[in-house]
Amino acid sequence: MENALNKQAVSDDLMILNMGPQHPSTHGVIRFVITGDGEVMQRAVPHVGYLHRGIEKLAEGLPYPSFVPFTDRVDYLAAMFANHGYAMAVERLLGIEVPRRAEYLRVIVSELNRIASHLIGVGAMAMDIGAFTPFLHGIREREKLNDIIEELCGARLTYNYIRVGGVSFDFPQGLDAKIRAFLDTFEPLMEEFDRLITVNEILVKRCANVAVIDAETAKSYGLVGPNLRGSGVDWDLRRDLPYSAYPDFEFNVCLGRGFRGTLGDAYDRFIVRVQEMQESVKIIRQALDGLPEGEIKGKLPRKLKPAKGEAYGAVESARGELGYHVISDGTDKPYRVKIRAGSFNATSIVEHASRGLMIADLVVLIASLDVIAPEIDR
């Protein structure tokens, strides 16, 4: 394929540029081969597989509960969702009822994790465009979130917190107040962040009307999550395919509306992420207020041996639908685990969306899709 590209480039007098896999703006080890006519790209073809660790294959050799730590590494910026999706799929396979308190705890940690992930997402986008300060603001806030989650489960990044049947630890004493204190400081900080970067004229000029993805294209490429909602498609698993304790809470699904330009441009996707953080704050407050008493882990058999069959569990991760399709053959190890991750589809749209863009805007496109390498390659 590369040779074919090169031949075509030579014959058409085009330029071939290689970006990645070691490049600070590709958000992990992804490689793009850019065919350009001067500064204008004809297309940028993503090459993936530089972080293929064979996680799906490893699942086949492990008992059901032992695979949970591996799911952390599927999406290290938002590992709670990755835990949650797998746990849900196995629970459906086993037919286990999860206690109410565990479901609430899951929602709280997931939404905290969504804030942490989006902080990096929007911060890194600003950094790629050239503004380093918002990224450091994001990192600073993320450290506070890491502290909270570390107090809860002992890990900063790879949590292994949401297990099959429930969660691993209950809230330690005083964590409730700490989360509330964080939320109280976070809201004014979001306003500061907005003043610093979201309505910043330079960012708006760089992102508005750039890399427009219309609703039809977004749907046909299978985009999910903030990327899909940025194109104006009203779809959120938390509301439309309710799971866990989400039906108990009131929140808005944030949509792109062409805030500063065309519907579905990079700026819309940026804004959707900023707004989703505020919605997450709302959900966490409601969940903390209504946190029921009770067990944190459902009744599990000593050895998990689901009957023959298959189940699909999907959560609305920070990067959209993250689904696990688990097939059981009746033994204590899964026959097959398929992970459906949003970043893979988001990478596939790069070739389409990069047509006619300037080379410098490719960075904006990749950053606005907020892809993460292990979710692409798994």
Binding site: L51, K57, R140
Partner: protein
């Protein structure tokens, strides 16, 4: 810096005079060179997986690496230290070798996290390199999955100690032991 020189380990350098008197710094040329090298360690921004996030956090406001004179560079040609932060797959392995070869001497490598040290959680995977020391010489191994920012901070300080204690001329001329080469589709195994 003054404290470093007064420490018992160092006897070949010193500082005479005080503030406002026009102080004189004396010492062996190699020591003074090492001192300046140690305090401007530029590391290659090479984040492949989870450890990369902790590397970002380490460069962030809490565990500020800038105070050691460490700045991240995106290009291997400008950096002295390669922080291999994350899993290296076979597909990525020859790129790592290429990046290492592009760095200018003297150069150092830290294998951050258990994946880069030995394959870690992905020991049994068919596509993961079982330790980056199979393709490039490693100066420091940092365990953890992923290591905390404090651990990376400590590793950086240990790296500084290594730099201070060695003869930079020997580092420039010494021949590194031959490493197994990446064959096309070949699978590297520890001897």
């Amino acid at each position: 810096m003054v404290e470093e020189m007064n420490s018992p380990r160092v006897i070949e350098a010193g500082l005479e005079g005080g503030p406002g008197q026009g102080a004189v710094l004396w010492g062996k040329a190699s020591y003074l060179l090492n001192l300046s090298r140690k305090h401007s360690l530029w590391y290659l921004l090479f984040a492949t997986a989870c450890c990369g996030i902790e590397m970002m956090q380490t460069g962030g406001p809490r565990t500020d690496l800038d105070r050691f004179g460490m700045v991240f560079r995106a290009s291997p040609r400008q950096s002295d230290l390669m922080l291999v932060a994350g899993t290296i797959t076979y597909k990525m392995a020859d790129r790592v070798k290429l990046l290492y070869d592009q760095m200018a001497e003297p150069k150092y490598v830290i294998a951050m996290g258990s994946c880069a040290s030995c394959g870690g959680l992905f020991q049994k995977s068919y596509s993961v390199l079982k330790g980056v020391d199979l393709i490039v010489p490693v100066d420091l191994y940092l365990p953890g999955c992923p290591p905390r920012p404090e651990a990376l901070n400590d590793a950086m300080m240990k790296m500084q100690d290594i730099i201070l204690s060695e003869d930079w001329r020997r580092k420039m001329t010494e021949k590194t032991e031959p490493r197994p080469q990446m064959g096309r589709g070949g699978i590297l195994k520890r001897a």
